[in-house]
């Protein structure tokens, strides 16, 4: 069920990217999509009442395997957040430069390229 919610968040972000005319709102839409994907990855590794994936002394391997959360999605999400930060920084920098050149954030007025 919760996966459907994640997908709905993803689609909201996609709607923002496709239909909004303000550059800042497009950037926000992309961020929302990215969070949806990150949330999805984190949920894959979620386990109720899970323990950290560290094998302590006196713990049997079977019990560990049953209770520990999956650490891989967390590592993936960390990487993906860092990549997202890089993209976001570049996007915002370009948006600032565009504002300096065109004096507007409205993409319907930014149309020097056509054909």
């Amino acid at each position: 069920m919760i996966y459907y919610l994640v997908f709905i968040v993803f689609l909201i972000g996609l709607y923002g990217v496709c239909c909004k005319k303000n550059i800042i709102k497009i950037i926000l839409g992309l961020s929302i999509m990215e969070y949806a994907v990150n949330l999805f990855l984190i949920l894959l590794g979620y386990r109720k009442n899970g323990i950290p994936p560290i094998l302590e002394k006196g713990m049997s391997v079977n019990e560990f395997a049953q209770r520990a959360v999956d650490p891989l999605p967390q590592a993936l999400v960390l990487t993906s957040i860092v990549i997202g930060l890089g993209t976001l920084a570049l996007m915002v920098a370009i948006a600032i430069r565009i504002y300096q050149r065109y004096g507007t954030f409205d993409i319907t007025e930014i149309k020097k390229l056509k054909g």
Binding site: F10, E34, V37, T79
Partner: protein
């Protein structure tokens, strides 16, 4: 086998070294950038025949990251590093006049090359995503490198569409991980081979397919390309059209359809449909353009259509045609972009109507442009002819004569479009011919000439060499693709 890691480590390491060192040493970015790409080219040529896997950190798959150096990866590495070397050679004098910050250019450029080498080598899905992002983020920054209003607009458009496609790919990878609990490509292929396509796998496949099709700019997803490719500095445009579209897009398509999910008739027909659409619409849009670089960018869409058709036909002959055309396209399209950059360098304009009679002022450039134009439109001894011929033959042999007919029509329209370029720019003049531009322009410096001449020679003789030596040059590459899923799994995981 451990030299394989150099393909990734060397360019990325140099990318970080250049900004640190070259504030003191002004000559350092040029020299180190060229030497790095040259070493990568030599390395990729030297490694032919030396195939195997490299386990990063000594962890065996499916637990660790594995770099897969097989024939297909070797082929793509040669293409990437060849064009990267020519492009850096050209950049030395080109950037001197038109752009100020060489250090940032080379740093981003090497980052991009390292990312692409990583995409090609990796055998792990998440690692593929990371390398993809490294190379495309550098590419976004390089498209907007000039910081003029048009370039920023193109960079923003590329950035938004590219990020959406990357997120589709990441979503697909997440679904596959949730389904199978592994990220190793061969391991996932093994599971899919065992269980078959169910709903989740289909959804993941569609997400990955759309992501890679956006990256390779096939027609319904092409809208970023005609803006982004002309806006970049010329050596970068050559790199974008010649290599980035292929390493980030086409390579991913080939790997996931043939080696991981398995090829079938439906996917093949889908590819052929998208290919014909890209080929025809791309070339029709190109015919009406007056901006030389924009015209070339539309031709990239059209030629990528040919490559996708070749892959979609699915017989070994079709794949041969597709991959051979990929190699040829990266050579002649880079050549054409370099000539457009030379014209911009000496005349200061990209508008075909304002140029004219350049053959008298710039003989080397116009010769190179003629060679490129004849290659791209498929005139006999040049390399474009052989690969288009193979694609057409493969289509006829596979019982799809309509595809062959479309390919021929596309080729004729390409010829029409390039005869327009030759007439207006080099061998005649249009109505808006600008006398002032003509008088002050002169031939470009030597290194720029040299890089164009190298690519021209490859255009003229490369096709003949490869077509005569297909048995030993391209056959092993085709075998990796057409053998499909099982040999790939066995190669990485052991049988």
């Amino acid at each position: 086998m451990s030299t394989v890691i150099l393909f990734v480590a060397l360019p990325i390491g140099m990318a970080f070294l250049i900004p640190m060192v070259s504030r003191k040493l002004k000559w350092f970015p040029d020299v180190s950038g060229n030497i790095t790409t040259f070493i990568l080219l030599l390395l990729s040529l030297k490694m032919i025949g030396n195939y195997g896997n490299y386990y990063v950190g000594g962890w065996k798959p499916p637990y660790g990251i594995v770099l897969v150096f097989d024939e297909l990866a070797c082929f793509f590495l040669i293409v990437v590093n060849l064009i990267a070397f020519i492009s850096t050679l050209y950049a030395i004098e080109y950037l001197e006049k038109l752009f100020t910050s060489k250090l940032r250019y080379y740093s981003l450029f090497l980052l991009m090359v390292g990312g692409m080498n990583g995409i090609i080598l990796t055998g792990d899905f998440f690692n593929l995503f990371v390398f993809l992002e490294i190379s495309v983020i550098a590419a976004y920054a390089l498209v907007g490198f000039g910081c003029q209003s048009r370039e920023l607009e193109a960079a923003f458009k590329y950035l938004v569409i590219g990020t959406v496609s990357s997120l589709f790919i990441l979503f697909g990878i997440g679904l596959l991980y949730g389904k199978f609990g592994t990220l190793n490509m061969a391991d996932i292929a093994r599971f899919i081979n065992k269980t078959g396509f169910d709903e989740a796998v289909k959804f993941a496949f569609v997400l990955l397919l759309v992501g890679f099709l956006i990256k390779s700019a096939a027609i319904p997803f092409h809208s970023w390309l005609p803006d982004a490719h002309p806006s970049a500095p010329t050596p970068m445009s050559a790199m974008l059209s010649g290599v980035v579209v292929k390493a980030c897009g086409i390579y991913g398509l080939i790997r996931i359809t043939y080696n991981i999910f398995g090829f079938n008739e439906f996917i093949g027909n889908l590819f052929i449909f998208i290919g014909i659409l890209s080929m025809m619409i791309g070339v029709l849009l190109a015919v009406t353009q007056w901006d030389y670089k924009r015209l070339l960018a539309y031709h990239t869409i059209s030629q990528v259509g040919y490559i996708i058709i070749g892959i979609g036909i699915g017989t070994p002959l079709g794949i041969l045609g597709g991959l051979f055309h990929l190699l040829n396209h990266s050579v002649f399209k880079s050549l054409l972009f370099l000539t457009s950059g030379s014209i911009e360098y000496s005349t200061g304009t990209r508008d075909l109507q304002k140029m004219g009679n350049l053959v008298k002022k710039m003989p080397v450039t116009s010769f190179a442009s003629l060679v490129g134009a004849l290659s791209i439109s498929g005139i006999p001894p040049f390399n474009g002819f052989w690969s288009k011929l193979i694609i057409i033959l493969a289509a006829i042999k596979a019982g799809k004569p309509a595809v062959a007919l479309w390919a021929v029509i596309g080729s004729i329209l390409t010829l029409a479009s390039f005869s327009k370029v030759q007439k207006y720019a080099f061998f005649g003049k249009g109505e808006k011919f600008d006398e002032e531009i003509y008088n002050k322009c002169k031939e470009v410096p030597h290194l720029m000439k040299m890089s164009m001449v190298i690519l021209s020679i490859l255009c003229i003789f490369g096709g003949l060499v490869v077509i005569n030596g297909t048995e030993c040059i391209l056959k092993p590459v085709i075998k990796v693709v057409s053998d499909g899923v099982l040999p790939y799994i066995n190669k990485i995981l052991g049988s």
